[in-house]
Amino acid sequence: MSALAQIPILPLLLATPLACTLLTLVVPERLIKPLNATLSALALGLALALALGFDATTGGYQFAFVRPWIPAFRIQLDLAADGIAVLMSLLNAVVYFTGTLTMWSLNHRTREYFAFISLLVFGVFGVFLSRDLFAFFFFYEVAVLPMYPLIAVWGSTRKAYAAMKLTLYLMAGSALLFPSLIALYVLGGGDTWSIPELARRGFDPSVQVFLYPFLYVGFGILAGMWPLHGWSPTGHVAAPTSVSMLHAGVLMKLGAFGILRVAIGILPHGAEVWAPVAASLATAGIIYGAFVAWRQTDFKYVIGFSSVSHMGIVLLGLATLSADGTRGAVFQMFAHGVMTALFFSVVGFIYDQTHDRDIDHYGGLATQVPVAGTLFILAALCGMGVPGFASFVAEFLVFVAALQAWPVLGIIAIAGLVITAAYLLRVLGKALFGPPNPERAGLLDLRPVQALPRVILAGLLLLFGFVPQLALDLISHIGAVVK
Amino acid sequence: MSAVTLILMVIALLGALVAVSVRDIVHAIFGLAGALLALAALFTTLGSPLVGAMEVLIYVGGISVAMIFAVMLSPHVGRDLRETPARRLGAALIASLLFAGAALAVLSGPAVPDTPEAAGAFDPALVGHALLGDWLLAFEVLSVVLLLAIMGAVIIATREPPAPADAAPAAEEARP
């Protein structure tokens, strides 16, 4: 710990993807992929070191690194990590690393692709690690903007439409956020952007009630909040594999993280007043996403709408404003991130061979490609919230908290588990099981090198399923927002 | 208010009228020159002979002449200025609306002093001191602007036109 404290680990973690972006732009073509793999592995190592070095017994913000950025407006580069940020950085690093490995076969404009990806990852790290509200928003935009070219250039189905839709939705969210953040700065005294400081000062109740919905909806759009989720399934579907992984796995978590850190963190009273609305929307999202996923015939659309449903669980957990619900929500963010990354990486692998994602056009994949099939089944089991997988404990905590806070909504949300099982088993039954489709006889299975990133993801799901304490230790210091 | 001033005003307005209404561009430029001369005289009656002199030198002697050169250098540059009545009507309407509004504002505005300052205060020497004292920076900037303008004008005016084949599609593209 003391040795680690000497190393400015947070700036290093932030600088790694940025360096990756810059180096990717200049190194020779053949070095791009090794460079990205190396630097993403470095980021993963740093995130692991962060998680190991984090002192869970004291909690709070650690590894602080503060430098002035724009002194005239008291904007600082204020990096610090609490348990939530550590867990989320770990998630980001894992998805970054595995996503980079899954794109090894990319050969169309490789340089630009990896530059944008690492820029996006840089932004995500910045959001998770910034304690300064302005820097938070700055990094948030850095993370969101590369999505447009990534989908529009390297995407597939209706990519221009999807990219534009995504950008418009997210810009609408930002349009709600930016004035609200400035309002927080001004009303908070106009002399600090520090999130903890603003939270400590507190705001007038009427201000809180007025500002909270702007922040909640602004961040909620990125979190796939029903009914403003429209961008996310379309975006998932159109994006190339590693972008889908980052997009559903990490980017949607930024929204939930923003709600937790900024909206609820700074405006607890507003959160309390609006909690019933937030919880109702979240529950609607759980049920709605599950039902709509049931009707989909495209692999990625199923996963896309399942993300809406699963992010509903996150938002429901946050809306309980209780310690257990928030812990469950944060854990679910992690579990869902790893799970969808696994889903998209496997689907992407199959899509790359056939350029077809219609589940009716497949059958017996578990026989044809046993390794890929098994990994997909594992992800589906995690999606169903089966014990032994990371999402079980997370969903359990959220449901227990929700039942205590809003029994009726809690029961509806739990009933969503049945629909979740129905739509995931439908995919398994149609595409993974059943008689093998002879037209797909030539499908190749994952080679060991290709399996590695996917196996890492599946292993994480099982590891955190059997030893959830690993994650819960990090976030054990989350307290109830409303006692 | 002296009769001289009034006459000068009338001359200026008449010149301006010629400048904006006649059909021959050369006549219009002469109208402009006339109006500018009258204005230069007005400036002098307002106690600013220096400004009046500059007006004559730069406007009448420089700009007007440059305009005439420009007209002479480019054949068929509208020696016959014919605008549609609708266009003239629209322009007149807007101009007269603005005139009416602003005149109303001027006339109904707060009372203004009608005693001119002592003529002695308008010594050109004072102007010179101010120009090279308080306003030195602006003066220097202006000189740079002038220099650049002259250089730019030379460059723009001497550049060879590109081949028409290139120009045409560019123009097409710009039209949606």
Binding site: G230, W294, G364, I414, A421, A422 | L97, A100, G101, A102
Partner: protein, 624 residues
């Protein structure tokens, strides 16, 4: 001899760890070596069986050992073992039956390409069930309850290239999940009421809280009812029973395991585990008694017309589970668990011997099996007949003692509900005897041939192997022995079996005798008269289709869910998305409209600006 606490705990942990390790190693490392996988799994099964038997036999006072699995805030979620009489009995049943099924499978699955996976999943199944049986706290119970469902999903859908197997597995998982949702809510409610996850402590606290008016009896009723819904789903009671007959699509050893010691038994065991809770909830208890007794009769009726031998046994399982649950609901803990034990043995025996016949003759049709000469497989038929006798409740066999104990327990409960339940159970017992007799006669006395018979996938055309025969023989002996185990079970559970008074036993025995007599009359003679139910074609058709319950579900619930999905899908694709797109298009149109004003003609811009300026001037002028 009584073992000390640490030894017992270690034994229990070993019993839990062995199958999990076997699952992991067989599933990951031995994929291409099926013999090694089978050997490993059987070794782990033997270890577990021995350990559970030792725990059953050599323990004294209840032992509870819990380690913290995870800590959330101030709440410790534990993982551990609770070794009280109930769990010791259940654990031993699981251990022994699973071992025998595993040994049997070496013969039965010898030709299947996926047998490594099969054995690995058997080990997973055993681990899940044992973890549930030994669970000392609510969360652990729920976790392993879910894992039992998961393992049975994979085993039912073992032949995953067959659509009907996948459909059956899906149905089993989703229908039991409906129960699971209710159970989860019930568990959370129980936790909220009692304030602890520890099962025994929570039950104790409930009692004192109820007496001290800390909670209302309604809350207890609701919690009990929710748990009972979970039981209904898992134990395939009406109205969530339709998945179990379909689960026959799995390999026969899976059916043997599923119907005897695991999966469906989990529901019964849950009821037994929370017996104290149900005793505090008289309304729920009465409702449960009626519902399960009704299920017992209904399923016995349905079993009477099936021609597929596995389907007969499947419906009979539902019927017998209803009987057990009725006994438990009547407060007869030892009767219910005794019937669970005997049923586990004889139902496993029935399935394994049926499997041996199917394996040999390549058909599941009772009549075809009879014609093919099933009676020549003497050992198999002996096992089948012993199991059948036990199922029918013929005096002297295991089923008789336990079923009579249940009937007596129900009879001893005062009130109209219990009386109705008793009547339903007695009639059910009569039909049970009838369909058992029917099966026996159809197998022993072949009838005329049918034109068209499909061949199931597990047909291999050879008589049972040694391993299969050995399992069947062992189970036959166990079944015979269990007839005399009643007092042992009763003393283990500390609740004596109800006295078998003649007055109570007469209706039951009479019903069995009548049922057998009708079976003899229908199938035992050389006559061309159609059997009982076929004389009423309408009823026969109704029974063959299970009273259309499944069809109604398809129409009502599945239909409603599909409709809901369609509606929401419509909302997504036709309302929400177009709304967003429309918004975008509106913005674009506004932009285009504005752009049209940008003609690029300088004078228009100046004109507009001047006009605005004029307006401002006019406004100023008039304002002055």
């Amino acid at each position: 001899m009584v073992l000390d606490t640490p030894t017992l705990t270690r034994l229990a942990l070993a019993a839990l760890a062995a199958p999990l390790c076997a699952f992991a190693i067989a599933g990951l490392a031995l994929r291409s070596r099926p013999r090694a996988a089978a050997a490993l799994v059987i070794a782990s099964g033997a270890l577990t069986a021995l350990a559970t038997l030792a725990i059953l036999a050599l323990a004294d006072a209840p032992i509870q050992q819990v380690w913290t699995w995870l800590r959330v805030g101030d709440t410790d979620l534990g993982f551990g073992v609770l070794l009280d009489p109930r769990s010791r009995l259940m654990g031993a049943v699981v251990g022994v039956i699973t071992l025998l099924v595993q040994i049997y499978s070496t013969g039965y699955m010898a030709h299947d390409p996926g047998r490594t996976r099969f054995f690995a999943l058997l080990a997973l199944f055993e681990w899940a069930m044992l973890g549930f049986a030994y669970a000392p706290d609510l969360l652990q119970a729920f976790i392993f309850w879910e894992l039992v469902g998961l393992a049975s999903f994979f085993l039912i859908g073992f032949w995953y290239d067959r659509p009907e197997a996948i459909a059956a597995a899906k149905k089993a998982f989703i229908m039991t999940r409906v129960g699971d949702v209710a159970m989860l809510i019930g568990l959370v409610l129980l936790f909220a009421l009692a304030g602890t996850l520890d099962i025994r402590e929570s039950l104790d606290r409930l009692h004192s809280l109820l007496q001290g008016h800390g909670i209302t009896s309604l809350q207890v009723e609701v919690a009990a009812a929710l748990l009972f819904v979970g039981v209904v789903g898992k134990s395939a009671q009406f109205p969530l029973h339709t998945w179990l007959p379909d689960a026959m699509a799995g390999p026969t050893p899976v059916s043997a395991l599923l119907h005897s010691a695991t999966m469906v038994a989990a529901g019964v065991f849950l009821f037994a585990r929370f017996e104290e809770l149900f005793l505090l909830a008289p309304l729920t208890r009465s409702a449960a008694l009626l519902l399960t007794a009704f299920t017992a009769l209904l399923a016995a009726l349905l079993a009477s017309v099936q021609v597929d031998i596995k389907r007969v046994w499947a419906w009979s399982s539902i019927s017998q589970l209803g009987t057990m649950l009725a006994g438990l609901a009547a407060g007869g803990l030892s009767s219910g668990l005794f019937h669970l034990t005997t049923h586990a043995a004889f139902k496993a025996l029935l399935f394994l011997s049926a499997g041996a016949l199917i394996h040999h003759y390549g058909t599941q049709d009772l009549r075809a099996l009879g014609r093919a000469g099933a009676r020549r497989d003497r050992l198999t038929m002996l096992g089948l007949l012993v199991g059948a006798a036990a199922l029918a409740g013929i005096p002297g066999f295991a089923g008789f003692a336990s079923k009579e104990a249940v009937l007596t327990a129900v009879h001893d409960v005062p009130g109209r509900a219990a009386a109705t339940g008793f009547a339903l159970l007695v009639i059910g017992a009569g039909f049970t005897a009838y369909y058992v007799g029917r099966v026996a006669f159809l197998l022993l006395r072949p009838t005329a041939a049918e034109p068209h018979e499909p061949t199931p996938p597990d047909a291999h055309g050879h008589p049972p192997t040694t391993a299969m025969s050995a399992s069947i023989l062992t189970l036959t002996l166990i079944t015979l022995a269990l007839a005399f185990a009643g007092p042992l079970v009763a003393s283990l559970l500390g609740q004596p079996l109800p006295e078998l008074a003649l007055a109570h036993a007469v209706p039951g025995i009479a019903a069995v005798a009548l049922g057998l007599a009708v079976a003899v009359f229908d199938f035992g003679r050389k006559s061309s008269a159609p059997p009982l139910f076929e004389r009423v074609p309408a009823l026969h058709g109704l029974l063959l289709r299970g009273f259309y319950v499944d069809a109604i579900y398809q129409r009502v619930f599945v239909g409603a869910a599909r409709l809901c999905a369609r509606a929401l899908h419509f909302a997504e694709t036709r309302l929400l998305d177009p709304a967003a797109d429309g918004l975008a298009r509106l913005t674009l149109a506004m932009g285009e409209g504005t752009a049209r004003g940008q003609s690029g003609q300088l004078q228009r811009y100046i004109g507009v600006a001047a006009l605005l300026l004029a307006c401002v001037a006019l406004w100023l002028g008039f304002a002055e």
